[in-house]
Symmetry: C2
Subunit: 333 residues, 2 copies
């Protein structure tokens, strides 16, 4: 029998400005009892995502997280017991478990995952991050061989995969990331053609030098000034895949959008398209088959950043928002 103590991290207050450790509290609750249709889960890995922070602003593609509740978040978990058909003890699932040891979750909100090693890959390349990169780049960005693809937050969980898939598709790939080390890693380890360090200042000029023929596809994880710089350098009929706006999440969002909207959108016939990976789940198996073959052949390198201990989850998110991770960050519970 599992321990009946359930460590939980509560969001005690919604941050008005920057997120800090004071906004969270570790408490010990009781192990929940699954109701009919639910499974009792033992959480193994908690996914850290910039979206965790965005949920604190209000309803997005999910309802807002509320103060004094267990912090929401995706996780990989093992079924302990089940009152739902189709799930049995030992099954591995992905779902919004929240930041806690144990959760009782309706089976209809869970995705059954294959047992594979390392299990962490279910949160990185074969999880939301990998699928977001895959569908966002290929279905929304629609890169063609020889085109220039730019991706921001390029050293992050999604960006690092976007850039590698774009290379597999024969594109010239420019990554935008914060810091020399990350930039060096993108080009030396992941095969990006070049990288722009946005912390170096003069991002617009550096981008111009990195993409001298202009940008055909921009995979936007950040919004804000970097989006503005990219819009100005897009080629005719360019596509912008709008995946997220990390620059706007931690603090007070900008009161304005990027210059050039809609003027440059019209003149250059650009398409800006937002997407959510959930909308593509009917094609998940085909995407996973591609991702698995690229990983097996060594064309796609998987970078993970695993932090130990549920008590470190708040700091792991705060650090992720500050850009300290490389690849997919998660907490081993």
């Amino acid at each position: 029998m599992p321990d009946t103590v359930n460590r939980q991290i509560l969001l005690v207050e919604k941050p008005a400005g920057k997120l800090g450790r004071e906004h969270f509290k570790l408490v010990e609750g009781r192990m929940p009892e699954p109701k009919d249709g639910e499974a009792l889960l033992h959480v193994r890995y908690i996914s850290l995502d910039a979206a965790n922070r965005a949920w604190m602003h209000g309803a997005t593609y999910r309802s807002a997280v509320e103060a004094n509740t267990v912090m929401a978040g995706g996780g990989i978990a093992e079924v302990v017991s089940s009152k739902a058909p189709g799930l049995k003890p030992g099954d591995i699932v992905f779902g919004d478990t929240g930041w806690q040891d144990y959760a009782a979750v309706p089976a209809k909100h869970l995705s059954k995952m294959p047992r594979l090693e390392p299990m962490t890959h279910l949160l990185s390349v074969y999880g939301i991050a990998g699928l977001t990169a895959y569908f966002g780049l290929l279905d929304v960005g629609k890169p063609r061989t020889g085109e220039t693809v730019v991706v921001s937050a390029a050293a992050g969980s999604v960006g690092s995969i976007v850039g590698q898939i774009a290379k597999i598709k024969g594109c010239r790939v420019v990554g935008i990331a914060g810091g020399k080390d990350k930039c060096h890693w993108l080009t030396s380890e992941l095969g990006f053609d070049t990288a722009v360090d946005y912390k170096d200042g003069a991002t617009f000029k550096a981008l111009r030098a990195a993409a001298p023929k202009g940008i055909d596809v921009y995979f936007d994880n950040v919004g804000g000034d970097i989006l503005e710089a990219c819009i100005a350098q897009m080629n005719l009929n360019g596509r912008i895949a709008c995946c997220g706006a990390i620059s706007q999440y931690d603090g007070v969002p900008s009161a304005h959008g990027p210059r050039g909207v809609p003027g440059l959108i019209v003149v250059k016939r650009l398409t800006m398209q937002g997407f959510i990976v959930m909308d593509y789940m009917d094609r998940r198996d085909a995407a996973l088959a591609d991702l698995q073959s690229w990983v097996a052949s060594g064309k796609l390198k998987v970078q993970e950043d695993v932090i130990n201990g549920i008590e470190n989850t708040p700091q792991a998110l705060i650090g992720l928002l500050a850009g300290e991770n490389r690849g997919k960050r998660m907490v081993k519970v």
Copy 2:
């Protein structure tokens, strides 16, 4: 033989702020001689378009207009003489004739038009305006029966046709226009379901009342605050057809784009797509066939605003930028 005097309107200076009559000058030049490959044209109708003003800011989808040259602009003209195969005296053509009586233009930059009455329809419903409305709404906006379509500058040349096509396609149609009279005209004459007067203030609230189920397709002619209000009220998977940004043309363009970009684009999976009608010209005949059948059956009403005398062209453009026209404005030379 035609008169050999060629009245021309020069742009004497690019406006720093609002466009005024002082930026133009009427001069008498000489009738040009066509070179090989060119046709000598007698201009019959000059098209007035908000884009005329946008060209003064710099290169767009065409090169910028320059000071002390004949003001650029589209027109319907009759071929006087031709040194180009495929064009003969008496042919009717559309092209960038500029604001003048006579122009010598390379045949490859001209579109041969059918002889039909009234000839003015070649600039309105069967011209750039009608085709822009047709392709922008149907190919970019992709409205489905029962959806809510909002169009700004709804009493203008493009907007008035967009709204009527959307009605033909079974949509609920909301027009945004300036002034009670225009709004009344949209609903009583053109069949729009409702209209919002942006000069009334409180556009956001009025739009909410006019589109209580949210907006599925927004055909944007204006950019700026109205685009921002629409983005905030778009439904999931909504489409914004970016046709122009009239609000930004006459004066100093806004230093920022609309709030909600890219945040709401992501969360609501919106698509914002810019387009230029020239990109669709391979399907012009099919579009014209539809437009002609709708006009013939009375489903599509054509509104034109014809001003007499080339000397009135500057004031006609200044007035158009101030929103005084209803339907397609043009000058009879």
